[in-house]
């Protein structure tokens, strides 16, 4: 029954799934790090990106761009910019006006934004599951017959783009003045502002960058699965949130690592135990983490912000 090739395949699938979770999780973790709150509209930001992907591809095709890779590149750029603007808007609408009020208020307004986004897409694009055609065919394989590990070129692209995006984000956060402003604001908002950091601008950037990372995930997932609907943000959002909690919410490397961990365990669970309950499994991890290790697998106990 146990088969090293099945294991290898599930590990591979898990890493790919996990890098998607990681890309979305960084948005949760960065926003939590800077404003101390969960962005409940983040999953729907990711969903928006799937729709932007489909629309952008259709538009590019209509303009007669027939190189798949050029089309993908342009789609990625458009998705990142447009979805980034949605992230920016979430901060302006749901968070900034309520900064300094009771902690629950922005959470409720973010859930409101989440519902608005879902319904707005449902009305505008229809409730049916939508799809895009397969753009990249073919795969690499190791072994033959039943003993085979396969990785499609799309999956390969997912890993490459995810790793590149994570590296780029890490560079921005650790090496640029914007990244320094983000970290200073996270560690002491008042002092950062006294030293000349424009807090409003920095927080807006954090929401925007988080949305941009989710946008990349949205494009990649859409390429891989081809289908999506207005509700995909919910389950994927909770899973990415679980990944952020696993890695210790507020920690950037934690979110990336947490994503891969969750992807791996989910993939192994569905490969060897049960596919139908894989979502339940992920949610069980979330609940257990929140009860027993709310500061994450690697983190020290979180000092409560605010």
């Amino acid at each position: 029954m146990f088969d090293i090739y099945v294991l290898g395949q599930q590990v591979l699938n898990g890493v790919i799934l996990g890098s998607i979770y990681g890309l979305i999780a960084v948005g949760y973790t960065m926003v939590y790090g800077i404003v101390g709150m969960i962005n409940f509209a983040h999953g729907d930001i990711y969903m928006i990106s799937a729709y932007v992907t489909a629309v952008a591809l259709a538009v590019l095709m209509a303009f007669g761009i027939d190189s798949v890779y050029l089309a993908l590149l342009l789609t990625m750029v458009m998705a990142v910019i447009i979805t980034g603007l949605y992230g920016w808007a979430v901060e302006r609408i749901a968070y900034r006006p309520l900064r300094g009020s009771h902690r629950l208020a922005p959470l409720i307004s973010a859930i409101g934004v989440s519902l608005v986004l879902q319904n707005y897409v449902q009305i505008g694009q229809g409730a049916r599951t939508q799809g895009i055609p397969t753009l990249i065919e073919g795969s690499l394989s190791i072994g033959q017959g039943d003993s085979i590990i396969q990785i499609s070129y799309t999956q390969l692209l997912i890993i490459l783009v995810a790793v590149a995006s994570m590296c780029l984000l890490t560079l921005v956060i650790t090496r640029t003045s914007l990244g320094r402003d983000c970290r200073a604001t996270q560690q002491d908002m008042v002092m950062a502002s006294i030293l000349g950091v424009n807090i409003n601008r920095t927080i807006a950037w954090v929401f925007t960058i988080g949305a941009m990372m989710a946008a990349i995930a949205g494009v990649l997932v859409t390429l891989n699965y081809g289908t999506f609907d207005f509700y995909i943000g919910f389950v994927t959002g909770i899973k990415a949130f679980t990944a952020a909690v696993l890695g210790g919410i507020g920690s950037l490397p934690g979110a990336m690592l947490g994503g891969v961990l969750l992807g791996l365990s989910e993939s192994l669970f569905s490969g060897f135990i049960n596919t139908d309950y894989k979502d339940v499994f992920a949610f069980a991890i979330l609940v257990l983490m929140l009860i027993f290790r709310p500061s994450g697998l690697f983190g020290k106990p979180e000092v409560d912000k605010v």
């Binding site: 320094r180 970290r183 560690q187 008042v190 002092m191 502002s193 006294i194 030293l195 000349g196 807090i199």
Partner: protein, 245 residues
Amino acid sequence: MVQTTTKNMLATMPSKLLNIVNACAYYGQIQALHDVSLYVSAGEVVTLIGANGAGKSTLMMAIFGYPHLRSGQVFIGDVEVTNLAAHKLATMGVTLVPEGRRIFPQMTVYENLLTGTTTQLDVATLARVYDTFPVLASRKHQRAGTLSGGEQQMLAIGRGLMSNPRLLLLDEPSLGLAPLVIKQIFAVLAKIAAAGTTIFLVEQNASVALKFAQRGYVLVNGKIELAGDCDTLMHDDTVRQAYLG
């Protein structure tokens, strides 16, 4: 109306680099500052002394809008900055070395210094700061949270100097430091003042502060009780009893 105009005219006298007029601030229902007025002229070294809880730090922070002034005004030069977004003051050449240092513990010493710049990093300024506090140079890649208290205070002052401020605000730089370190730090501050930087110093350590500054104010329960030359204050009976032991 007439009164405000007079106030404004006083405020616009250019020699006053910092001018606080009738500042009132509250924490919830509790009033922490009662009509505080004071000024610091360009080139001066002025101190504000007072007991624990007098409202010294509140005044310092209120310059940046934390807490907001419920009434009153703050001017930098002839520009009114009352309750302006704090980050705008940094670009006007105002820097605070806050109570409790408030360095960024997770960043390196070098990155902390960078947070003090308001424009591109000026290499000459960085060299001057390292020159003033050699320990910062030798620890530049160390996480700031792992520095000793005295080193952190030096970092906080160094960070404050990175923008070459016109006005340096210092809130109890001597707090919790050994006498030798206090001496070192005040020697550095004297040099900075001699180089032309205007200094407004809040201190609980009145003997140090009154020796260091030219003019002083005494804050009691959120009100200015006394003001004058440091020499005069030092020999004032109430000051001697209350603050100089």
